[in-house]
Symmetry: C2
Subunit: 676 residues, 2 copies
Amino acid sequence: MRTIILSAAIFVLASFAAAQNSQPQLNLMPMPSNVQLGRGQLPISQSFSVTITGHHDASLDLGVQRFQAQLSRQTGIPFWRKAGAPGILTVHADHGRDAVQKLDEDESYELTVTDSSANLAAPTALGALHGLQTFLQLVQVTPTGFVVPAVNIKDQPRFPWRGLMIDVSRHFIPVDVLKRNLDGMAAVKMNVLHWHLSDDQGFRAESKKFPKLTGMGSDGQYYTQEEIRDVIAYAHEHAIRVVPEFDMPGHSRSWVVGYPELASAPGPYTLESGDPIIDPTRESTYKFLDKFIGEMSKLFPDAYFHIGGDEVDGKQWNANPKIQEFMRAHGMKSNQDLQAYFNRRVQKILAKNHKRMVGWDEILRPDLPKTIVVQSWRGQASLAQAVKLGYSGLLSYGYYLDLMWPASRHYAVDPMADAAATLSPEEKSRILGGESCQWAEWVTPENIDSHIWPRNAVIAERLWSPQNVTDVDSMYRRLHAVSLDLEWLGLTHDAAREHMLQRMLGTADISSLRVLADVIEPVKDYNRWDDSKGPIDFHAPLNRLIDAVYPESDRARQFTALVQTFVQSGFKDQAAEAQIRAWLISWSDNDARLHPLLEQSFLLQEDAPLSQELSALGATGIAALDYIDKSQPAPADWRTQQQAIIDQAKKPQAGLLVMITAPVQQLVDAAAGPRN
Amino acid sequence: MRTIILSAAIFVLASFAAAQNSQPQLNLMPMPSNVQLGRGQLPISQSFSVTITGHHDASLDLGVQRFQAQLSRQTGIPFWRKAGAPGILTVHADHGRDAVQKLDEDESYELTVTDSSANLAAPTALGALHGLQTFLQLVQVTPTGFVVPAVNIKDQPRFPWRGLMIDVSRHFIPVDVLKRNLDGMAAVKMNVLHWHLSDDQGFRAESKKFPKLTGMGSDGQYYTQEEIRDVIAYAHEHAIRVVPEFDMPGHSRSWVVGYPELASAPGPYTLESGDPIIDPTRESTYKFLDKFIGEMSKLFPDAYFHIGGDEVDGKQWNANPKIQEFMRAHGMKSNQDLQAYFNRRVQKILAKNHKRMVGWDEILRPDLPKTIVVQSWRGQASLAQAVKLGYSGLLSYGYYLDLMWPASRHYAVDPMADAAATLSPEEKSRILGGESCQWAEWVTPENIDSHIWPRNAVIAERLWSPQNVTDVDSMYRRLHAVSLDLEWLGLTHDAAREHMLQRMLGTADISSLRVLADVIEPVKDYNRWDDSKGPIDFHAPLNRLIDAVYPESDRARQFTALVQTFVQSGFKDQAAEAQIRAWLISWSDNDARLHPLLEQSFLLQEDAPLSQELSALGATGIAALDYIDKSQPAPADWRTQQQAIIDQAKKPQAGLLVMITAPVQQLVDAAAGPRN
């Protein structure tokens, strides 16, 4: 019977999928502000071509080339043949772009597709580039061919600043990896790369004036100025600004390894340990920063410059009598006052270099000029506070990708919600947008894509689309589609997991490991590392299962939803039950296959308890279903036993969580308690 | 019951795998000429490092860098940290390499690994580069860590010429794709890239003297001279020679589009059609070739130069009175005589440029100097004929990767077998080796890797390893391992199939399509295209299922072997039967899931009959097992019905073959006939 049920259930799912395919679904992410479906569809065949009318600039030409290359990848159709006749897609930009992209440029576009042609019009090339991304997301395979449904889309972003911060200090991220992430950002219409270039563990941007910043303040892995210019140019082509961050006065160990005179206590320092902090009381510090910021301001053309300013640990200040004397002499009552003094000095240097200062929450002090931008990692309350004081603000609270949250949780965070909801329109106008943040304690070039993508796309949608675009089911459906497009672009969030699982098992046959990997997630927030273990070794390999699995398990989410459906049906939805049972069986059976393989790999031995727990949960769920089917409450001692299994499975093992405990709990509760 | 059997069967397989893992298996391909296993194993951890002693040259330095990068990919361990202490692996080359790699250089090496260190020694840097590849293949994951087993390997190639020919004319293959294939060649110790740069459909090498060769004789896709030098340099770093081929006097349509005066009939010509052939009777032809070969001889430094010479269609010669008159005047009795005259003239031009001529079988004529090399695509007989006449020879017969043969069939072809087996030692010494050939009618940059790899590795083994290395089971086991290493190197033979299946279905959920794709293969030999359909459109998309599936189905091969085991056990091997049944059930059930999805994609509709046939074969096999289990012969009418199903399934559909008809036939025969 089990197999027959399995087949039936799979058939049901397949029918769902088929039904979905048969009606035109727009897998757009971010969702445009206005979409009107038309009748019919535009075929995408070999004769498809593009004509640019209106303003012509290099970045639009390159954008169209990339568009055609990606359309080729998505369809397998070569489009390199020169088009003779007028293009089927006409791209028209009224105006070109400035050499340096500005915050407030018009990014809007209008895309109209009929059954015979398509027209993309935009005030600027920026908008046209965004519209090309929308067109790519509209392409779908149908019974008659690749098509784009007839549609009229009028679209513009909700916020002008839609960023992704990438920390390249804790683990160095090479240029090619940055570039493919810029490709991904462009695909979801993000427009700011916030490049976290220095932190305690490594200084990653070459300074010709201060070569020891990278020479001694890194492990040898850094970006040359030529590479930095290359990344900036690449970002510009992709309609993305690049904002550099050099964190100061804290998070600054990598500065002082080569330049200990910057620190608030005598050196020498090494990259590996210590909590040095820049000394804000010495004029030599500002001479250094004047030269350094002058050099970096020329290298990074963007109007904004991020000085970090977060998490200043004042121990060195407290312990230095000269600094204490300076504070007394200047009437400073706290380290916050001293940091504010430092920020004012730095801000003046930035202003001299025509840069606007950006910093984390902690820089917020009323005595700074109103030109600065506060990036809030603490919440909408601090964001609201900043804009009430007349500053501009960005939200990053709720958008920390390294916390391993599900996409839905990021999706629910809105810059205009909570404390920001009651702001005046004028205050709200100073909320420029937000940024997702990829801190790099636990990522390498190999797995960073899967930590950023596809979840980052939902934050991109939050920052682009109207505030009322909040349907979670629709979001996940569209996220699935955009994830596939992103792999076509060259991102490796799926491919890397497969390779890493193969490495751990030592074979390409990873079906049983995949069953486990599909329903586990890394522990959340900052629970991967316990500070009592000492500092993290940033040179250690990241090749364990926790490094390979996705931050969010689609399978567990689907299973949870299915159990929900089954319970809400009063346990009558037989299709749901069949699929639930099929998955429970696959988990229940899996450990027998997987366990011997785990034992053969030192990288996987630690995961053996997880595999056992998954199988135990599967068996528990099957037994619960059997009780439910019998319409009799399960005995109390059974429930006690199952509860122990569930409670055990809730505990992290090897930094990993089995994500099906809650729905199995639901089944056990239903089996044991009164039911409709 | 079915599910329980399924689980049991899978468990049995898992146990096999575990048992295999527990003893040190050397997954080396090509198998070295001498391997002595030692005791213990060398751990590969973060402290692993490499020291170069002896001769130091740039290619060895780069080779060690690539080695460390690949070791990092295979293990997930970063090795970029500078090593202070002496390396755990010492690499020593007595001598460096010439600027141009020669045919007869010493490629031998000796690799000794103990439980604490490893030593790689070679007379030349070439051998050292090969030894590094062997070391990479020795790395395995174990319960205690990544290790290399203690071993002593003394190794050298059987043949000095181990090539892969890539046709870049029919479909252009970009530089990055060539480079990753060069990576793959180096991994399996192949040392010649034979670059088929011109053919009817496109001239792909830039000539500055004759710019219309690519300007009019290609679709705009060609290699600049700078790119060609880049590929040659890259190949040289990888211990690979590059031999260019410019096919003449036939296969030359792309020459005469821009230079119709070369043809044997008046133009104009287009790339799309016509069978022009170079006119060997005009002095202007040789003036052109003198200039062209002079230019290309400088561009391609290798001592060998391939002039094609195959499949000369003499229609234009026969129809041209001046050519006929020329032949009469010079006493030529056949077009072969005229081609021989042409070859002698071309050979003189090559000799003037210090090049040795290589050509296909058809150039073989006793009046050419003994310096030429004949590449046999017709068989060992023509190879033997060539070396008996004093020429050097290469075997490509049996190594045509585009024929979609299983690896085992290529593996069984030996240059010294059949007609070549009875040659004298001196004659045999003129057999230089062989080349696999990837003709490009049906490949694009997207799927060329999966047509070449991993099968090409077994041809590499045939040309490197001792003649008595012929065990097919061992070959397939090692091929599986090397395939995984090749994906780590960046080849996309597995990844591309996944992406192509996802494209066809329009979703990342391809499990049911994978079940079908895993047991089908493209039709063999030249049966994909029927000439009555007219010429192939080389600009058409190659995005159908036939373009995505592997040339050889591992699953079908495993199933065939399992049925063999079951039959040979007198139908008593229950573990084998359980696995057979499990697979039959998965196929039998699959069409219900897959069929609705196939209908939704214009690319997959043609494959619906295949899916139905696979399910029908699954059901047939299950019924046959049931009869076998009952120990009663199946009724005659049942057998007739099943035979009809099998016969139907043997017919190609959409260019594809279901590869399990033979083992299902075996089960039906067993069910219907007398059994032990």
